[in-house]
Structure formats: C-alpha cells, structure tokens
Subunit: 402 residues, 3 copies
C-alpha cells in the first residue's frame, strides 16, 4: 500500500487529483474496500418494492445485495451469495419471492436471510451459522440506503434532514414513470466532480441556467432578487404547512457527505421543465405547483431534485477504473396515468438534457486526464469550492486506517 | 509465489475453494503451467483426422498444438510455432497438409516436425535443432489425448480402461454428426465441479433424472431395483461378448483423474433421448440398442457418454480467469445418413438440454462467488463427495513442486 | 524494473525477441515512456492543415497532441489536456479553430498554447504558468514530425535527407486522396519487423516482387541489370535536375533510425501500380512519369514510397501490447480531380494489396509468438539483417538510462 499512501500524501486541497486516481486499477480496488463497502449508498426507492416479497438487487463495491420487503413491511438487505457453493440467489435485477431459493441446489432462505432448508445437510453442521450475510438498511423520505460495512457510519442526521425535506413529496407512495440507464466510460469521481460545480453551467447547460438561479448566486446584480424571491417562497410555503428551515438560496452540502435543502425558482417557473410549466399532477398533499426544488444528495453515489409535480434521481455505480454505470429515475404520483396525466417525453426532457450535456463533458475530461502530461490543475474557488469539498471527503476516506 | 502458497494452505477439504481461485489472473497463469501444460488433455477424435495429412489444432495452457495424421497412420502433436520467427504454422482450426509450411517465409516441416526446408539458412546453423517442438500423444477408444509436458504422467491405466469400455462403440470409425461451441463466462473449475455432482439434478435436470438412476443411487427405496437391473444388463451384455468388469451402478472415478464405467438404464429406456428411444443406427458391432451408458472422463477437460447408437463428448478450454470455451460433439456411425438414419435435432436434444441447464447454473454461481462476502461453503458429502475428489486432485497439482 | 533489465540482458543480436516483448503490459508501458514519448514520431502531412487554425490530433505514447497551423503559417504541437481540470480541448480528430477553447469551462488558449482566458481565475494565480504543454515539431518534405520529450533527439540529418529526397514531389502542396485505417491485433514491433525484410516477399508479395527489384538484390544473375538500370536512371534524373546522391539499388537505412533513398524500377514500369503504368497526374515539377521510388522511413512509426505520380505513407500507433492502429494515406497533386485524373481504386490497388498481405502474415506471427514454447529464432542474415538493425535500435533505447 506504500504507493497509494504516497499518492494520498501528494494531494493538494484546492487542486484536482493526480492522474492515477482517474485510471488506476489498484485505486479502484482500494475504493471498493474503503468507500463503497464502508459507507451508506443510495440503493433505490421504496416504491420499487411495495409488496412483501418484492425485491431488487444492487451493487456495493462489487458485491450484489438483495433489497427485499418483508411480511412485516420492513426492508432487508442480504448479500446475494448462497452460503453453500456461492451461487447468486437472485439472478434477475428485480422480482418477487416469498422465500429466497438458490437455483443451484435449492437451499432456501427467509426474507431475513435465515437458512430454512438445505436438503441433505448433515445435522452436525449448524444451520443457524449459514444464513445469508446481512447488510444495513435505512429508509428516509421514500429512499432506501444500504451499507455493507460491519459497523455503519451514523445515519441519524441524514434521516432527519431527508425526512423533513422529502416526506411532503411522498416518494414512498409514488411510482417510477421512466428510467434511463447507461455506462459512462469515465472514472466515477469525474462524475461527482461534475455534479458538484456549476462553473460549467452558463455555457454547457443554457436551459438549466435559465430555470435555476445557480449560475447567478455569486452575482451582486442578482443578489437582491434571489433573496427576496427565496423569502417570499419561504413565507408562502410556511403558510401551506411546510417545514421551511431547509429553504436556502444555495444548494451546498448540509453535512459532511450529504445535503438536503429547497431552493426557489425565478418567478414564472414552477417546475423543472423546458418552459418551467408543470409536467405531471401534484405529488403528495401539495396544493400548489410551485414548491421550489427539493435537492438531496449523498456522497458517493446519489443526487436528486424533487419539484411539486415530479422527482428526478440519479444513482451511480463504478464498474471499473474508467467506467461508471448511471441510472436516472423519474417519479410521479402513483395514480398518475401515462398519456393522460403526463407524457414521458415531456417529463424527462429537462433533466435528461442536463444529463446528456454532462455526459459529453465528462467523456472529454476522461480523455484528457489520461495524458502523461496531465497534472492536477487549480480549482477556481468560489465556483468550484464544492469540488474541493468532495475531494477532501474522498481523500479522508481513502487515508483512513480501517 | 508466496501469496499463492498461502491460498493453497487455506484449502479445507470438504469445502469449496476461496474466492481468488475463481477469478484471479495469477492463479489462472499458475494453472496453465501446473495443470494444462503438464497433464493429459483430451484433444479430439481420431475420426476427425482419418487421412494422412489431416490435422486440427487444439489449445493446451495457452499453447496451440497441431494434431496431425502421418503417412504411417500415426497421430503426432506438434507445437504450432515456427522455429524461425515464431509464426503460427497452421492458422486454421483444421485442414490437410502433406508438409507443414509456415505462411510467413515458407520454412517447411514434416508431419514429424523435422525442419525440411529453410531458404537461405546458413549451413552453420544446425537444421536438426530447429524442428517443431513435439507434444506427447496417446490414442485410446478412438479418443486422442495430448500432453505438453516434458515428461508426461502415466497413461497406461487410462488406455486400458478406456479401450475396454469404448472399443466396442468404434468411435474411431464413427463421424461427428454435430458440434456446438460456446464461451461460458465462468472459471473452468466451476464447470468441472458442476459436472461432478448430481445434487442439483432432481430440480435442475428433470429429464436427465428420469432417464438415469443417478439421483436415486442413495435412496434405499431404489437400491434393489438398481442392483437387479444392473445385474440383468451385465449378464445380457456378457452374452453379447462385452467386457462387463466396468459395469457398475455408479459412475464414480475409477482412477486418480479418470473414470470408465458402464451404467444400466431403467427398463424401457435404451439411449439418451427425451423418450429413451433410439436416435441413430447401432454403432460398432452392436446387435441390440440397449448397451447402457458408457461413461468416461478425465480431469481437467473431458467427459462423455456413449450409448448403443451415439456418443456425446464435451471438452473444455479455459480462456481466462472467468471464461471457458466449451465444445460438445455428437458422434454416430460413419455411414449413417442425416435425414435418413438420424435427425440432428433429435440426436442432440437430450444432452444439449442438460448442457444448457448447467450453463445457467454455472453462470449464476460465477456471479455469486465474485462477491467479497463469498467464502468457502460446506459440500454436502455423499451427494457432493466427487466435488471434493476433484478439488483434492486440483489442489495437489497446484501445490506440487515442479 | 529488475525483471525488464533481465529481459534486456537476454537479447541476442541476430535472433528475434523473447516472448514478453510481444505481449507484456509492463514492456508496453516502458516503451511508451522510453520510446514513444522520447523520439521523433511521424504525425501527418502538412497538406492536412493548409490554413491557419487547421488542426488534427495525434497520439504519442498514450498522450493526445494537437498539431495546429498558426497565423504565421508555422505548425505547433500542443498537449491536448486543459491545465484547469484536464479535459481534452479538441475532442475531434481534426478541425479548425482560431483559439483552442476547452468545452468544459471555456478556458481559452492561443495556437501557441498560451492561456488567454480563464473566467474567474484569481489574479494571484499566474496565467502564464498555465499554458498548454508544448511538444517539439519539425517539418521536412511536407511531413510533420513531433517529439514529446523535454529534450528531443537531433533531427537535422533527417531534415536534410528527407528534404533532398522529397521536396521535388511537393507533398506539402499535395492532397490526401484516400485513407485506410485499421486495428491490427499484434504488437507494433511485429509490424516494423515485417516491414524491414523482404525475405517473405517472393511468396507473400508476388505483385510487389515483379514491380520492384527488392527480392533480386542478392541474386548474382540480376546484379548487372540492376546496377545498369540504376546508373541509367541516375543519369537521366540528374539531367532533369534531381539531386541523385540518394539513388541506390537498395533501400537500407541511411541513418541510425531513418532512411531516405530512391530506387529504379525495372524497365517498363514507371510507378507502383498493378501494371506499372501511371495512376495519377505528375506531382510537383516532374516532367516525366518514371522518377523511380523515393523511399523514406523512420523508427518507430513511419514509412512511405513516393513515385512520380503519387505517394503512399503508413503510420502506426501502438494501442496495446497486442494491438496496433494502422493508417495508410495516398497523396496525389492537389489539383487532380477524382474520377477525371485518377480513380481511387486504381490509385491504392498496389500498396493496399501489400498492406493486406502483410496484415495476414503479422496476425499469424502474433498467434505463434504467444505460445509458451516460442523462443527467439535465428534471423537469416543477409535477407533479414535489417530486422536486426531495428531490434538493435529498439533494445538500445529500452536499456538507455533516462
């Protein structure tokens, strides 16, 4: 590990990472063990598994994990590896099962992972020691988080903040209206860095910059309007019964590895759509379209925007030193009817466009940081301070003695 | 090699292997040198190269080997690498050649590997030292085995047992009626382990389990019928002149790395087909359809079933730590006419189905053993004792001081 | 590096390289640093970027380099990696730009690499230290060479020889009539070795051997004709005003890593075409078709043949231990009109055929040298002495203390 330690030591806050961090296999392996199998990861939505026995699988640092709804209505997370000969129990990405039966030799497990049946297993072998390994699970605001570590990091603050921000949107009672998945041939940290700054927005995301204040936050010309508009919304939303402590002009991280806040739209816009007009029925108990934008996110794999009529979430999964799997979901209220209450094309137009624009930028960056002449460059602080926030967090995790 | 030695030391008989054995590149390399370039490998069928000059190529631990019929009717095995600049001599998988001529600079070799012609080679360079390197070859029961080692392991017992079992089927005088090849994205040992137990058969191979006694061998309810049926067949086959010493209820290994035995079908079945009825004309000198199932196999790359009317063989070739090339051949008597005497679809239906069912099981297992939480699991001895037999053999080869 | 040093020590002049040189990732990495990022590489043709702002990108040892024409008409070479966050500046293979603007955050550079604009960059950060890294460039005979090293090797002799040989062909004022690109799954040194000997020509390149004297050079029967024909051409070309010092029967290297010479055709042939007849209008100021064959080449990535009516160039780029990207260009005079003055099919027929024949030979060799039984073989000196010339050069570069 000496080489990695030397690399960590060379990190200079306020500058980008050294070249190996974006392409080296040994660092990728280290990240799986020190980050993706240690921290809380966004796994998916509660509404993906409404019934007892509904499950989906998700990857954490190379490990497949089954996320399943129990008879009691809880959600469990179980390592998807049979304790007999190691076969995957669930070979599909999603499904429904009362018991988890390994397809190879039919060893059967309960939704809590306990080994129920193993034909021919001698009595002297202790069945209770052969249950599926369990991962930790926490639910908040309709989102499911898992952690593969033995001892998980604290989650209570995240749960409280996300719940306060997202419960009014009732994502647990929503449905996924559309999903887009793609592999991005770039290191996952380039994806996160991209998401953590809007320095590129004015030229790369023109539509986004028109609908949101993000690119105008540091402009003195806009300071007054943004503050006034934020205050007006806060007052209006408080009247409607919303918790407004999290209403802010900016969308900075509110914790060491998460954020949960709500921003106001410029007047005339009520949701994230090309024209700022609604694209679906109101969610939860909302009584008006303009609920601003609830923004939530967690390092290393999740961010989302929720407006009065829909939510768009993004989950990333590293698949190699230079490839990342991206999954974007769009949620609307469960009883909304496609073609009547919403059109998928219109629903996804705004954020799908942002995602495509970012994909191209990230690909170009991946091509450049692979050069032998690439060296860490200076972050433009202010505009890119949140990139440093992420890199500082990342480096602290990597250097930590486990 | 310290790391590998530590891994070997951790092996616990009666349990599956540790995770690196199913996915690590260093172990894959070690296996090429300690197993695939040291032991006897099934290469193919004598009937693939009936005429002098007929050849095919086969891979042994990453090396291409030419298997060629000589003028004298022998079979030679030659490393497919020109002694001049290393070009492949035979670039096709099969062909016919009186002399082996390198396509690059036309250096020519005899079917015994001797360098015959090398334009411009100075007289002071000793031509006799520049023949193609030779591998060892042995023929038995119509099968061709090769060994790339300097000093090959003993083959005499295999030759004797295979000859006694298979000669009556006359595979040397048969023809290949059909071949199926595919890459299985899984470590080759998962393939062998799968083949070495029938614990998965009752649920995974329902048709197979109906036609064969395998899954009923440990049932006391069936003990009497199986023994009676075996004894009846043995008597009947002896009358027909067959050597019946190898007739047994089970199909266990008869040597350290091979097996050769014949099992009886349940009454009413005479061959391996969905309905147990013949699918091709009788082979060799057989005078009745029901000759049971002649089962032969060798670690690490071969198994076969031969019945009165056809034979189905399987050869595996590791192509990476997590990929294996599979080749299945079906043989019928040489003068059988497709469409008249047999239909390919019906001929392959039974064993092709078993192969497909196994492929899915192996893929699922490959997905699971790659998890960081996978750990060796307990074999269900009795049902899975032969998996341990293979793993013990494997581990002994890997630990051996060469 | 001990292992590599041992491998270097085993090199035996007059024999081919050991197996790892043709397939090992560590050697491939070492080559990038010791050869492809240190020496002069052929990048492309001046005529590809005639106007100020025209550019193309080229790869040197894994680094992308922008080759761009300046307002002053010079050619600059700039590393294609933004000094901010490392993004590729030019994501297309060719284009036109007055300023090089990074697509990510719009940092802008001049054609000399100087950082012109970086929105929001604090004044205390020195802009002049953040220009694009520059590579060295030299032009000669219409060809562009780049060198990524800090201190480039001497180029003056190459410039002088290439200029004397190629200026009369006026490649700088020509145009690319056709390009063929393909990936060859073989180590790049096998490609160079193939090009450096004609021992394989008599049987592998029958058409080539008819049009050129190459395969007859060592034959005493042809000695007189070749010398007479060479002398006759030399006299004729001198009359036409050509520098004829470089006219020779052979096409050996004229320097440590380059060659520049002109050979005569057998009487009756005037260019490289299947029938030896012209395929395009005369180039430069030529007044007759038969100007012999101007042959130029540089280790490690370039060779070309230019005749009175066209030129065919070849550039190779290693893309992995066992893969090489090949680019073949055919040039004709700039005002020649396709379909009127030349047909692409006829223009490329001769050398495209040679390239295809070589590709097959190289693929076969790549397959053979990967065998564990491959070992260095004896070069047939005389016929293959120039292979040794290349391997000696290669080994000297690899062993050099940088």
């Amino acid at each position: 590990m000496t080489n990695l330690d030397e690399l960590y030591a060379e990190y200079r806050p306020g500058w980008t990472l050294a070249r190996p961090f974006y392409r080296d296999g040994a660092i990728f392996e280290a990240e799986a063990g020190r980050i993706f199998r240690q921290v809380w990861l966004f796994a998916g939505h509660e509404c993906q598994i409404p019934q007892a026995g509904d499950y989906f699988t998700v990857e954490a640092g190379g490990d497949s994990i089954i996320v399943i709804r129990t008879e009691e209505g809880d959600v469990n997370a179980l390592f998807n590896t049979c304790r007999h000969r190691g076969s995957k129990i669930c070979t599909e990405e999603r499904g429904h099962a009362k018991r988890l039966v390994c397809p190879y030799h039919r060893w059967a497990y309960g939704t809590d992972g306990a080994l129920i049946a193993a034909r021919g297993l001698p009595a002297e072998i202790d069945k209770s020691s052969l249950g599926l390994h369990r991962a930790h699970v926490r639910l908040t605001g309709g989102l499911i988080f898992v952690c593969a570590a033995g001892e998980p990091p604290d989650f209570d603050s995240v749960e409280a903040e996300f719940s306060a921000l997202l419960d009014p949107h009732d994502l647990a009672g929503a449905k996924i209206a559309h999903t887009v998945e793609y592999e991005l041939p770039a290191n996952w940290k380039l994806v996160v860095e991209n998401h953590r700054e809007c320095y590129h927005c004015p030229t790369a995301h023109k539509e986004y910059s028109r609908i949101h204040y993000d690119t105008r936050l540091s402009s003195t010309a806009w300071k007054e309007e943004i503050e006034a508009r934020t205050e007006a919304c806060r007052t209006q939303w408080a009247v409607l019964g919303l918790d407004t402590e999290n209403v802010t002009p900016t969308s900075s991280f509110t914790g060491a590895w998460w954020r949960a806040n709500r921003t106001a739209f410029p007047a005339g816009h009520v949701t994230e759509s090309p024209d700022g007009k609604p694209v679906a029925p109101l969610m939860g108990e909302f009584r008006q379209a303009d609920m601003g934008t609830a923004r939530a996110g967690t390092y290393p794999n999740f961010w989302m925007h929720a407006t009065g009529d829909h939510a768009a979430t993004m989950r990333l999964t590293p698949t190699g030193p230079e490839s990342t799997w991206m999954r974007a979901d769009w949620l609307v209220r469960a009883d909304a009817v496609e073609g009547v209450d919403y059109e998928v094309e219109r629903l996804i137009a705004f954020s799908d466009r942002v995602n495509r624009e970012d994909r191209d930028l990230i690909l170009g960056q991946a091509g450049g940081v692979s050069s032998s002449r690439y060296a860490p460059g200076p972050l433009v602080l202010g505009d890119e301070s949140r990139v440093q926030h992420f890199l500082d967090w990342y480096m602290a995790r990597m250097k930590e003695t486990l």
